[in-house]
Subunit: 253 residues, 2 copies
């Protein structure tokens, strides 16, 4: 067996927590140190490795993973500017150059993480990596391949595009579920009615391109139905959403 | 065994085709006649029952199902105003009162149908019915229960709300998939990267309410990321969509 990879985990949010849990399942990965501003956040890992809340105490490891909120990464990394080993962040929309450390990289697991959910199958989660040289890239590739079957090298611009695409298909899609839920509630109908359609819509995309899968009043240019729907929808935001998405569907035929 | 239910099928589009295929699987249902303006559309059913393209030749059946485009239902039904038996339509956003027949009803299977897809499991598809009296409602309930485990009585206003909700979670969701696909293509990334996230987002909703499942920059009010994303998105429609959906998420916290 190759030498273990040693990692330090910096942060205690959702992504950090899921990564830690996954790393602990793999004997090829050894966690050297945990850092969190608030040690309560990572209490479930007590006894596994030393915990610090003073970043100047960070010891060497092959890879130190900063997994904190996107807008804090750059400033935080400034405190590690003299640190000799590889430091990576886990953010979609933060450039590798925003890290102020000597050796920089990115280790971006592309999935939606909520703290509540205990089990995530990392094997199927794409992990997007970036580094400044082949040696660091190899290190990240090795770490990625231990937990996932899908490790890819992409640059910061591509990662931003991927993050935006993720916002569209996860966050915005969920908001449409929310608006639909609200509409049904106001009409004394259960959200359960939508579940078969939601699943069918998601699964269809595994075999048909979204362009070919498009159905509905907008693509048919069914003005009568669109007008009826707009007249029916009282909620200002939802009315605007209906109008804009119908227009966008029609202009992308 | 109860007496068979006899039906006439009027129309040859996606919904009609899927209904016919499903009816033919069930010996308790007998198709008396097919009507289509264009008999080529329903060629696959030749020999099963007489086919007409002159509606004045329509014979009696327990239920005649008009499954044609929404905006044509009302005018078409006018030709059946002297017809004695129950006539129903299958549309989400057409009121029961738009039928000009003596006995009226609605038989609305709530799913997205594409002609390409051969197999649909009707058992899990909600069927929403409406009629003017208990006798007709019983008839529709019997027909619905033969093919589905989820038959519910709702009124025309509720059905409109459900149809709109369906547009949101199927047609608009698919358009977000499409926009994401385009964005990735422009950045030399594969749509495959999104598939695990798309499935996770849909499946999450089976156990968590959309309100509690909401994640992302908008709900976190992460202005820095939102601004970065808006700056990155060149496409005018997508930029407007990103802006509007982020606003709507924030105003629905």
């Amino acid at each position: 067996m190759a030498r273990k990879i040693t990692v330090n985990i910096i942060g205690g949010g959702n992504v950090a927590t899921h990564l830690i849990r996954e790393f602990l399942r793999n004997p090829e990965i050894e966690i050297n140190q945990f850092y969190s501003r608030n040690l309560d956040q990572i209490k479930e890992f007590e006894g596994i490795a030393p915990m610090i809340n003073d970043i100047s105490l960070l010891k060497p490891a092959d890879i130190s993973i900063i997994s904190i909120s996107d807008d804090a990464v750059s400033e935080f990394s400034n405190q590690l500017k003299h640190y000799a080993n590889l430091v990576v962040h886990t953010s979609g929309s933060v450039s590798i150059d925003d890290l102020k450390t000597k050796r920089k990289g990115v280790f971006y697991p592309f999935q939606t993480f909520s703290k509540a959910k205990k089990e995530i199958n990392f094997k199927e989660i794409p992990i997007l990596i970036e580094a400044q040289n082949d040696e660091d890239l190899d290190l990240l590739e090795r770490l990625g391949n231990i937990i996932s079957n899908d490790v890819q090298v992409i640059n910061s611009k591509q990662r931003m595009a991927l993050h935006i695409a993720g916002v569209l298909v996860a966050n915005f899609v969920n908001h449409l579920y929310y608006q639909a839920d609200k509409l049904l509630n106001n009409n004394e109908l259960s959200f359960d009615l939508l579940k078969p359609l939601i699943l069918e819509t998601a699964h269809k995309i595994l075999t048909i391109s979204p362009k070919n899968a498009q159905t509905g009043p907008a693509i048919r240019n069914d003005k009568m139905i669109i007008d009826k729907h707009l007249k029916f929808i009282d909620d200002k935001n939802l009315n605007d959403i209906y109008r804009l998405l119908s227009k966008s569907i029609q202009e992308n035929k």
